[in-house]
Symmetry: C2
Amino acid sequence: MVEQQHVTLDRVFHALSDRTRRAMLQRLTEGEKTVSDLAAPHAMSLAGASKHIRVLEGAGLVRRRIEGRVHFCRLEAERLKQADNWLKHYERFWNERLDALETLLREEDEQANGGASR
Amino acid sequence: MVEQQHVTLDRVFHALSDRTRRAMLQRLTEGEKTVSDLAAPHAMSLAGASKHIRVLEGAGLVRRRIEGRVHFCRLEAERLKQADNWLKHYERFWNERLDALETLLREEDEQANGGASR
DNA sequence: TCGATTGTCAACCATTTGGTTTATCGTTTG
DNA sequence: CAAACGATAAACCAAATGGTTGACAATCGA
């Protein structure tokens, strides 16, 4: 089951690694879009765009509702949350440099004087 | 220059889409590791692991310091922060369902009574 | 100096990816 | 009904990916 998590993260990050797909997700923040809507801005065949959407669907980032001949897609952000949760484990590392700087400044402060400010 | 950002995100997300590479990053949270250190847990040739490390480096997620014949790698989390920033644009969407639920509960509350708690 | 160690490079391989084109399916509409 | 429309499927292609092996380069230690 943790195994499945790995596969899921693989799929999510892979889906996000393509600019076209990220743009589609962006577009979906405006609300439901049809496949044609999503395809339109990207200079590529409808079939090509359709494949991208399937990748997003496969990663669980998009859900599809079929109405007649039109397929409506909507953003499914839960998996993005999972990706974000993974990233959160590293949050302290991208704050590290800042932390180090703060520590340094504090030490300098303490060492340099017994009360005077810089 | 925003163009460059796209390419960077492509590389970062692609780097993260592989389980082996994510495990390597995890390992690097413990501190600097040599290429051999990083390769050891993954049933694959050293050359194979080396290629993964290059992908991480190419994405700017790892930096390398060469000392004699040993290559020390360390985590470079800045790019993870960028990925996280991208994801943050979607935060409100994965809170959406919760928001809707809260709204619903509040409405029920207001409608159901004029002061009594549940 | 010689052998072992650390790591890369190059060539190769199977599979996946991102894209195309053409055919087809189901739906809507004139 | 027939034609147009929205979308997928299938076959195909070039390039990238994830992995291998074998040769090599540089360094270290005895």
